[in-house]
């Protein structure tokens, strides 16, 4: 009854302005790391819940109200977001 993390890309991108699917999340519960895209996402409820693919602990939760996004990342020990290399010039 879960989908993979790609299914939650839109709601996180709207709130954070980044593509969360390529981020590497380390689970605060079991310590396993993995790309957000590989997490187990439960989106048939009042909000979206991403769970660790290894231990099913909650990694992240997000609720979209009519006016705000509410985000809980307490289940993530770290969130590693790929960025363009510092000093890189995309025009060259």
């Amino acid at each position: 009854m879960f989908i993979d993390g790609n299914g939650a890309a839109g709601v996180f991108a709207e709130a954070l302005g980044v593509d969360i699917t390529t981020a590497v999340i380390t689970c605060a519960g079991c310590g396993a790391g993995g790309r957000f895209a590989e997490s187990h996402v439960y989106d048939h409820g009042p909000g979206v819940v991403a769970r660790c693919a290894t231990c099913e602990s909650v990694l992240a939760r997000i609720v979209r109200t009519p006016t705000d996004a509410w985000l809980d990342l307490r289940g993530a020990r770290s969130v590693r977001i790929p960025l363009p290399a510092e000093g890189a010039d995309a025009s060259s």
Binding site: M1, F2, H44, G45, P46, T67, D72
Partner: protein
């Protein structure tokens, strides 16, 4: 003046007045959950009420079934906007379970197998307003709908009716639950459309 008859309806459709504001009627029973469905062994199932002093009152599955049960027919309203009318449940009234519980607490935090929580005032669990339900429409409650047993508090949005219930902690100070921490209303009265924190 219209000359078109609306016809004769053998079965009354629910009027809008039967639905809280912002809700639509469904005849299905949607399954909403925030995690995998716990598979709870009835031999180890427990339901515990823990009071503010830490005293515990615990029932096994067999002890729960031995208590007087009630049948109730009620409407249920999900915060995701569906409502289902005339659902029939069987279970044990919280009044029965609280009969010997000593407490002066005002708040309850409900815990489920799987880690889900929800909070509500203790008074909303009493006086015939809440049950530990284990049968739905005459059948054992299925795991996807919260079986073997779920809390049933139908006068509040259905996220308060915690599936797979296992414990109620009585607290002197209110403590928000799983969705109440994250933008949903602390009380959740569907007739006042208390969906979100600021409603």
């Amino acid at each position: 003046m219209s000359i078109v008859s609306r016809g004769f309806h053998g079965r009354r459709e629910p009027a809008a007045a039967d639905l809280p504001p912002g809700q639509y009627l469904t005849r299905d029973f949607p399954v909403l959950q925030a995690g995998p469905t716990p598979r709870v062994d009835l031999d180890t199932w427990q339901f515990t009420i823990s009071n503010e002093a830490g005293a515990k009152y615990t029932w096994s599955w067999r002890e729960l079934l031995a208590l007087p049960s009630e049948k109730t027919t009620t409407d249920i309203h999900c915060v995701t906007r569906w409502s289902k009318l005339g659902t029939t449940w069987q279970g044990v009234s919280l009044d029965t379970l609280f009969a010997d519980v000593e407490t002066a607490a005002d708040h309850a935090l409900v815990h489920s197998y799987g880690g889900y929580t929800t909070n509500l005032p203790l008074e909303d669990l009493l006086d015939g307003k809440a049950w530990i339900a284990y049968r739905f429409e005459g059948e054992d409650l299925t795991p996807d709908h919260g079986g073997p047993a779920r809390l049933l508090v139908p006068h509040l949005y259905f996220w308060k009716s915690a599936k797979w219930v296992t414990r109620i902690d009585l607290l002197n100070d209110d403590e928000p639950g799983f969705w109440e921490q994250l933008g949903y209303h602390n009380y959740g009265d569907p007739w006042r459309e208390q969906r979100y924190t600021d409603d």
